[in-house]
Symmetry: C2
Subunit: 305 residues, 2 copies
């Protein structure tokens, strides 16, 4: 049982070189008619306009790691980075998590072969219902839907989407940074429109029955093999490349050296890697993110006025 | 008839986020043994080390457009951009075109589906022989070989490779910026090694017979449709995406608007687009480069001491 959704924010350009969200945000800022529903009109936000202008991920620091309680609550200073200033501006407008129900939809691309990834925080059953709706209504074999669950306590949240009472990020790929692929763009447009349809149906009293969700829950991050100088010594193995969400067994090749030598996965249990070879994660020392596949029961959802 | 090749320079990191060349240059700087042949040892150059460190294409301006006669011969000034200073340093070491024969191999990646593209200047029959050798010796259906010919008078040359008496650039793709795909990396390594083999065979007196080359010669650049404000209004059509080197007929779709409307190719003759949706060319106002397919006769090549 939930109160009605009073505010919906669609965010593009949180990363300035992830072009599907950048294009859609610019388009909807000029003509927001597509974002109107019976029970609300979604707000549209271009989150990092200077990064968008320069077509880079960020200017000083990753905006999508700048929504920590610590950064948002610290007193402002001249020397604050551009993204910290921007995070505070955005949070003042759309956060803090209000008693009224707001929903944040943050639009991203990845260079990894992750199809339609719906990223949400563990425990957000409202967002799981939305994800389930997208999985059912927006079937497209070119961009299969996956639900990726982040399980960290709320006080550890740093993503832009965490300012919403409920939220999802859409991660569509593969798409190189700075490139618009029209198939990815069209897919993102459909997903946002269907998300708004779901929220409107909810506001109008539609009951969404309970269901069992198949999710991938983040286990840990895996770095590239590096030398003492920090230089990467082996890269994603061609047998792992593009295999996001597929099972990786102990003994399977994961990295390859320039001399052709393989490095095998020496973990003890089967994992499902995602964000394999994501361009933006080299600097974060992440070659891929290990997940486990889980099933979780999601209770029915219905408006309570 | 040609004198022996006295100097070979293999260049990586001319663009700091094109990772195949960056990786190979770093690797060979540490261990150049693979670059030794009977008649020479190739030099290895990391062309734009600061751009490589920051994983960006360039710092101030495109290094691969900074080798113009005008820039190289102008008197140095404090206010010169980093890349102009760097171009002069490189040119002092490896240019100007000496009477002795030097060969430049410049390593690039593209986000476009261009397989193995061997880029060379019209009239460089020596480079055409090398390209033909690679086409014959390095068959790999995943990265089919294409010869891309630039037909501009020598005084108009601005590319790094133009400092060589003879030269090729290797453009391998698709690969996102900042990403190492091991299949692309392995392919680049094979191509450089075979290029050195060819140059060594030539120096040892091997005669390379005449042949007819199939080449794609650059016709013109095509920009995206833009509004009065300069904003792009339509992107590469999904039917054109990834179709580099395939024929495009008058009436075929080339761009698509966000509302789904198609924009058709209204030229009068069949063209072969390349660099379709290359990430780095958005800022250069290039959506693709139109080429024509030609055949040219290349006379036999043999050493003359
Ligand atoms: Zn992103
Ligand atoms: Zn390049």
């Amino acid at each position: 049982m939930s109160p009605p959704v009073s505010q919906v924010v669609v965010v593009g350009g949180t990363h300035g070189n992830e072009m599907s969200g950048v294009c859609l945000a610019k388009h909807w800022l000029q003509d927001p008619s597509e974002l109107r529903r019976k029970s609300f009109t979604a707000d549209i936000l271009l989150a990092n306009p200077i990064a968008v202008e320069r077509c880079v991920r960020y200017i000083d620091r990753d905006l999508n790691r700048s929504f920590s309680h610590e950064l948002l609550s610290a007193s402002a200073s001249e020397s604050d980075s551009y993204e910290v200033k921007r995070a505070r501006e955005i949070y003042q407008k759309y956060g803090p998590k209000q008693s009224s129900l707001n929903f944040v939809i943050d639009l991203h691309n990845t260079t990894s072969n992750m199809g339609t990834t719906i990223l949400l925080f563990k425990g957000d059953n409202f967002a799981l219902h939305l994800a389930n709706y997208l999985k059912t209504k927006c079937v497209d074999p070119s961009f299969p839907c996956h639900i990726l669950l982040i399980d960290i306590p709320e006080q550890g949240h740093v993503h832009l989407q965490s300012m919403g009472k409920h939220s999802i990020s859409l991660e569509l790929g593969p798409q190189p940074q700075g490139v618009v692929r029209t198939d990815v763009l069209a897919r993102m447009k459909v997903l946002v429109n269907s998300s708004l349809d779901f929220l409107d149906l909810f506001n109008q009293g539609t009951e969404f029955p309970s269901f069992e969700a198949e999710v991938h829950q983040v286990l840990h991050k895996a770095d590239f093999p590096r030398g003492a100088d920090g230089e990467i010594q082996a890269f994603i193995h061609s047998e792992l490349q593009d295999k996001d969400y597929l099972p990786l067994k102990p003994g399977d090749p994961i990295f390859q050296r320039l001399n052709g030598d393989d490095i095998l996965y020496n973990g003890e249990k089967l994992i499902y890697p995602v964000f394999i070879n994501e361009s933006a994660y080299y600097e974060k020392k992440v070659a891929f993110i290990a997940t486990e596949k889980k099933h979780c029961f999601v209770p029915a959802l219905k408006l309570q006025n």
